[in-house]
């Protein structure tokens, strides 16, 4: 069920405006140039996110359902399609950072045009079918809001000047509980979404899973604990690593989490406020699955499966950073793709990725539910990814 507190009382039209404004608010501190670059393939230029989320509403709602709607610019379909093979050609993902046009202002105009049309369209109560697409569109844009945050961090954090995103951004702090591991009994648990609000197709169906007894930490691993791993030579001892992880460490000469810099013997961390000393009591963040696994192995423990995580999630605090699980991203029993382009949303990524559970400091509130499944490839680090141990 969607968190009632902030959506229940809004009409769809109000919610549309709210979601759309929030995207613009995230981008407000940026310079025009920050909207353009793509330092690695996984990061998209902010202006692309702004155009793409707009394209989504135009393509899946206005064009098929709003009689008489005039497409803004047919060429934008080519520029802002992400990976929907069903919907024609698209700029390949590695080329997004090579496009200076359309400019930020052009895209903002496109955004306004589509927002105007959507506002008109939403004056009348839409059909159930459209309502579902609308809610998917809101959630889609909220996912891109999270990506905007992480991509902006990457863009600024890899600039040699290390500019701050905003000095008004305040990263939430987490207190360690210092409580013991939570003991979970062997048995059958129910997994998957069962509310009546929105969820993604990959959270369905709710189904039974048999779990062995396990103990799960109430806390995330801290920077201080992770630094012990570094200082004990963890990055240089193959025994902790998967073979593929060991190759990754050596090929990329990885020595610390992303955004960590050793300056005159002290560890600094690039944050939205610029370079700052690493806060030792906060959860370690921006690590790959390979690193999470190696840390756990070094500790003589392991990561939770996504089922273990979900089964125990009510008993610990979460929501500061996404937590790597040991589970591969696979369909739940009875998973079925939606027909058409919408069906490309999740299913086609269900191979060679790991599930993340929880939510991060930049996740939209509506996505913070215990059944939500995020997923990334094992080497990626630009999301706010952390470690929770199981034994």
């Amino acid at each position: 069920m969607e968190t009632a507190t902030y959506t229940e009382q809004l009409t769809l039209a109000e919610r549309y405006i709210k979601v759309r404004k929030h995207t613009e608010k995230i981008c407000a501190p940026l310079q025009t140039e920050d909207y353009v670059v793509q330092p690695v393939v996984d990061v998209s230029p902010p202006k692309w996110h702004i155009g793409h989320t707009t394209w989504f509403f135009e393509t899946f709602i206005l064009k098929p359902y709003f009689m008489g709607y005039q497409e803004y610019n047919a060429e934008f379909n080519y520029v802002f399609n992400s990976y929907y093979e069903t919907v024609g050609n698209r700029v390949i993902r590695t080329d997004r950072g090579n496009l200076s046009r359309p400019t930020v202002i052009d895209i903002m105009r496109y955004r306004e045009y589509v927002d105007d049309a959507m506002n008109k369209f939403l004056c009348e109560e839409p059909s159930e079918e459209v309502k579902e697409l609308l809610v998917l569109g809101f959630n889609h844009e909220e996912q891109h809001q999270e990506l905007l945050y992480t991509d902006i961090k990457y863009i600024l954090g890899h600039n040699p000047l290390f500019p701050a995103y905003s000095h008004e951004y305040h990263s939430p702090k987490v207190e360690k509980t210092d409580e013991d591991f939570i003991m979970m009994d062997e048995g059958i648990y129910e997994i998957g979404f069962n509310g009546d609000g929105f969820c993604f197709d990959n959270e369905l169906n709710r189904h039974k899973v048999y779990l062995n007894a396990y103990e799960i930490s109430p806390d995330l691993v801290t920077n201080a604990e992770y630094l012990e791993f570094i200082n004990s030579g963890g990055y240089h001892d193959f025994r902790h690593w998967h073979a593929e992880g060991w190759d990754w460490v050596n090929t990329n000469k990885v020595e610390a989490p992303l955004y960590w810099h050793l300056i005159h013997g002290e560890w600094y961390n690039y944050t939205y406020n610029g370079l700052e000393p690493v806060e030792m009591k906060q959860p370690v963040c921006h690590i790959s699955y390979f690193e999470a696994y190696a840390f756990a192995a070094w500790k003589g423990m392991r990561l939770a499966t996504e089922f273990e995580w979900e089964a125990a999630s009510a008993q610990f605090g979460w929501g500061k950073s996404w937590e790597w699980t040991e589970s591969s991203y696979l369909p739940y029993p009875g998973f079925a793709k939606a027909p058409g382009a919408i069906g490309e949303y999740n299913g086609k990524f269900m191979v060679n990725q790991k599930v993340l559970r929880g939510a991060s400091e930049v996740t939209s509130p509506g996505h913070s539910r215990a059944t939500y499944r995020n997923f990334f490839q094992t080497h990626l680090r630009w999301q706010f990814t952390g470690i929770r141990l199981v034994r």
Copy 2:
């Protein structure tokens, strides 16, 4: 439990000889040149397999346990180590096909030397610890016997002259049952090894798994059925494929299973007897996980999980080709790595690979058990890999 019929009555010394001779028998039809080449990184030169399996007994049994044993040649450690980081440097895997020395005759001499020492060593009853290593060594060599078969097929099958391996090799034929799908009830199943013979660490521990009801085919998908997929444009319709699989198909211009060739409008298949017309009633083979998944999606069905496969395996025939499952290769609950180099055997590969179940026509008989877990990356095709459908 190991298949009693062929091992029970043998002493360890007899079994040692039997295993070792079998490796040599597999290589008997080869020309010297066939032992040397490595056409792709996943294929090792046959002479490397012969040396490596010998090195395994020398390194893990003779050197630590046979008093007074003189190492044959210290440099061979460097040449024949496969991936054991614990045991010193090694020739990187991509370089195996660049080594003309040691020659086949040199390696055969090394093999004789180690066999002589092993025979002496096995005159006396070894300790339990050594017995375990011995049995691991036998199973290790049997795994390499399977790899020898598949690597030889790749080496000869990618030669423009398409030479036969042996005209005495007879591929087993499979009859389709034409029976209906087997219905399996929802409930708890026990998974994992529980006999008292040898098994690999990745088959332990036996544990409970909850399965939803499912129906599983009693037959493997045939070449005829797969050809329908090809002819209906299956390789050119992104909707059946994972995003990563779609990239793989397009980058590599894949149009058919490995070893298939379209010659004057007819499909031929490279076999151990040379090029032959595709046998339409036999199971399709040498396909990647991506292809197995896409075929199932095109059929509106899916692959089995490894648990579904194991739970139903007593009710259908298997053993002609390895069967791709939907399951990622992950540790079972309570999985623990052995200490030292032996601990590198399985655990470090448990990421970004898919489990295969069953056994193929070139699998050693002792490996054909329902709990055996093979695993490969999703794009690989040089093993005898096939498809069983679930709905």
Copy 3:
């Protein structure tokens, strides 16, 4: 000798301002976003050119020679150094398009700051040593003005929207002379700079060269002539190509000059005014050396050497596009590198590049002299490069 018409009457201070303003004028039609991107490694973002030419005056003149000068920002040294290994670390060339900061406005402020300091510095007559550096700085900036033009064309011409740079830009037109080939006698010719104005070190020393008799075309090859080559299958017949050129054509699937697009059966050309039908009577442009060579081979002729070109250059019109020569870029007899960072200017590129002679429509007037040597790798096409035939 520098072309007296436009420089003689200017003081160094006036000339400084003139050169600097011209760079800004070239950029005036750009949107902020156009300053940022780097679609291929050979193209630099316009904002980088603006910063780099500023850094040049700051580094080589203000810092060493202007007492009391305060460096604007020490980190800019890292960002705007191009390839001068002598002058500390630098952002690697492939990363220039990943930098959103410093912004265009930041760089313009840096530019103003340095210009102010330079203006003050130039109030007094500088030493001869500084004068030489100043003139080098002017020429350096003029070379970057040409690169700005070509890089801007690449950035806009590879955007799927094909935006015009400016509708006020008018490309000069060339009339074909229709005269016969010019006959040149066998004998000794003098090659290299011998005036008393500025020249680059690679134009020195003037020296004797022995040439066989040759005939050189008074005209550049036209688009119409090149289209014949295309239509006769020139891109698909290996006999016209160098082995390396043939690989390049096939790997990159080259079928026409850069910026040519076949739309509904008609050839279009991206120009500074946007997409326009190819003008058949104008010289073919934006081709690689490989293509120039293949065209000449197809014609049964060849390209000129740089010596043949220079010896005959007074007898034909040139200056519309750079002309590929058959000559490799090598030092003239007695060539000597300047000491220090300035010595890195030309010499270190004298391998695996071809000499271009002439000047293009976007070359600064002061660079249009018969002894000027430009040079590029054989596969590059983003400069205005054309073909003149010899037989």
Copy 4:
């Protein structure tokens, strides 16, 4: 003119046998496995050379000119064609080391078959046209004899066991003259072949070249001198290197000539007799053009152009190792390709390569003439390449 001493008195039939036998003699010390591998793309498996030189006579002489000749095996055309695009498909060069078949014995049978046919064919006096092709065939095979030597050295010298090729191979020794540099006057020199024996098309036509005065060393640079360069940090100072050479050094972490190994503080050199201490008085060998250039720059000197080398060559000893020149490999005035496949011999490589002059210890005697032009890419080191200085 070909060196009369060893060819004049032989008939074409005798010479055919002599050349063919010599190839076999070079291979005599090899093990079967040594014939098969291709450790880098530039090195071909010895069995490929043996087949390719045979294919040359079959394709260009027997098939077109010997009435009734039966092709040995049509598929061999595909396997042993090197780069002749005119003559059908071919195994791509990087795949040569992946072919175990045809075996060495198969190829030797093919060789015998072709030799028998050639011997019969040569019983009658061939036409002038065929004579020319025959002499080209001899020279072609002699070039491959040199490549056989260098490829064998690479194959054995990159094996971790460092096996000797033959203990009967005696590398010629060179005495340093300790004489002063030879002074050459400014003026016109004649360059190119002007004898009446065989030469390659790239040595024609003889033509005039104007040279400035220069001084050329009578000796090659020795290992001792090169070691000074290494010890003074030459590989770590960008100032000596071309930009492209500097990239090559750093990407490949080059620290010494190919085949040099620093073992317990002493430099060893892989030779045909196995690993031996570097002989300090012998010429340095197996270096790239980049290294030759950097060494000369470090010395404050330069390499000779190929014209300077040829003009002075009568005044110094040469023939121990090929000498890098500063000249790019370009056609001489009036160069014309032969029609058909033979025309692919030289011309299509005339881009981005440097000329080598002289001859090495493994060059066929008939190729040791002052006008002979060898050529390689600037990064290659597996030939016997050395340095002669000019100032």
